[in-house]
Symmetry: C2
Subunit: 301 residues, 2 copies
DNA sequence: GCTTTAATTCCGGAAAAGAGATTTTTCATT
DNA sequence: AATGAAAAATCTCTTTTCCGGAATTAAAGC
């Protein structure tokens, strides 16, 4: 039983999918399958029940999940406790709205508890702007969405900027189109019966992915809103379709089960300059890595 | 950072020696050195200070030790929590006096907390008798001393009995001759200025090792005593030399620093029948493995 | 029923772990 | 000091394990 197995287990448990989990932990699905099987054999218990293509935790899996979280937290604490030079000073972190809402709360709480001497400056923004600010040393690091390959080829500037930075996948989001209640299911943008798309600012990668998807088959306008709450409210009026990751939608326990359409997985990257790596950043990096895949689920409980 | 590294770390920390630790965890010294170095590199901190041939924990090493113990305990608990069939019934465990005194308390406490439904029958005895009782199904398992190779060759019966059992090294004891205060240092039994050796019953492996050592150069009688406390008391009178492992001596915070002579390392084996493996035994086995190398030190704190 | 998607199985290459031999350092003894 | 024994570190070689890709199987959606 090593901690990487537990990381993999947590990813599968939270995504209920080996494919997604594999992306989240930067491995290949077959490897995830194998490691889970090894873990189950080692423990002598069945952690997941494979009904169909869903991976649901068994009774034992649920109890192990609690321990897995505690083990990861304890290992993280141990790691931080022996850190030779205690981080201090200021750390300037850029993040997308969505990540700040769904993924960061737990990590930030833990980080703040552990290193109260670091003053953490959080800046929200669109992925493009954030990446530029990291390059320009306005930010120390940022959490941004990686555009899919086809979009990167259309926007070589952004791609070049990313290449100049160190990057690492930390989350994988399911990007959704959220439809008004009562709207029929859709296969493509042509089936949309709304007047516009509701999204954040123009530099937002999610917005651009959605616009790319929409313009193939229809000519929708985009209405720009300031927050995901505003987007959902706008969807509720019945005449717009919202764009947001599933993790954000999950947070906003919306009264009725909403109709959604998947645009596919989008990776969230942690980017930082190749040269500099202050102590506070290493600590943040570590906390982020250890808490990933735990936040949304914990909040849901 | 995987749990096997932590197990190795705990062994080195408690033995303050990579050679001893290597034996305790069933590995080769070069491997232990490497794993410790890897762990230090991974944590980015120096865990041990190598002053000469001693491995002493650094400040960071001490703090990591606390976490290492908690991690092992938590991992053990996780393992037990998902055990499909909760152990119950009776488990008959045989043990040497010395092991019962120095190594078992922590393991038994933990086991009892975890599985209050198992009634644990503890039998003390000499290694030979214990091994026979396991073979005869009077005991489910036993902790016994493995005689050194030369002695095994003189006692083929015992050796054959051991071969018929499953066995596993769980501890490594430093076997000592304890001398009365004021006795000069000795190189061999010829230098002894006492009338007799104080030891336990004839079937005791430690006693036989000491007698073997003594008879090479001198003709000492053995006085048989019922407990290690009695042996130490007898040594205190000035006319006997006691035989006991260092871990036992450490427990009995003896007023004055006593003079000792090393007879060398002796492995403690957990033996059990090859065929049968009841649930309660697996649980005991697991607890024993996870708590090893932690007890004496914890008691000393 | 066919297509798509996801999980698993199988296999070859790569990386890491373990064991033994060798070297270096240290401690004890002369 | 010089010598010898013992222990840790280093090095090299072998073995094992791990990882990624291709093929396979099974389930869900149309």
């Amino acid at each position: 039983m090593d901690l990487s197995s537990i990381e993999i287990f947590l990813a599968v448990a939270s995504d209920r999918s080996v494919t997604k989990a594999a992306k989240a932990v930067g491995r290949v699905p077959s490897n995830v399958t194998t490691r889970i099987q090894q873990l189950e054999e080692d423990l002598g218990a069945c952690l997941f029940s494979r009904d169909g293509k869903k991976m649901t935790l068994t009774r034992e899996g649920e109890t192990f999940l609690a321990y897995a979280n505690r083990l990861m937290a304890l290992a993280l604490e141990a790691r931080q406790a022996v850190r030779p030079l205690a981080p201090s000073g200021t750390l300037r972190v850029g993040t997308m709205e969505s990540t700040a809402a769904s993924r960061l709360p737990a990590a930030l709480t833990q980080f703040n508890q552990m290193w109260p001497d670091v003053s953490l400056h959080l800046t929200m923004g669109a992925s493009r702007d954030l990446a530029r600010n990291v390059l320009a040393d306005v930010l120390d690091c940022a959490l941004i969405a990686r555009p899919p390959k086809t979009m990167r080829e259309e926007d070589l500037d952004f791609d070049a900027e990313l290449e100049a930075l160190e990057m690492e996948t930390v989350f994988v989001e399911d990007l959704l189109i959220v439809l008004p209640s009562g709207h029929p299911a859709i296969k493509s943008a042509a089936d949309l019966r709304v007047g516009s798309l509701a999204a954040l600012e123009p530099g937002c990668t999610y917005r651009r992915i959605a616009e790319n998807w929409a313009r193939k088959t229809s000519a929708l306008s985009t209405s720009e809103l300031g927050s995901y709450h505003a987007i959902l409210a706008s969807v509720a009026t019945g005449n717009t379709a919202g764009v947001m990751p599933r993790s954000v939608l999950d947070l906003m326990h919306w009264p009725t089960a909403v109709q959604t359409h998947q645009l596919g997985p989008v990776e969230t990257l942690l980017v930082y300059r190749k040269d500099d790596c202050p102590s506070a950043f290493s600590a943040f990096h570590e906390v982020l890595g250890a808490t990933k895949g735990r936040d949304v689920r914990l909040a849901a409980n």
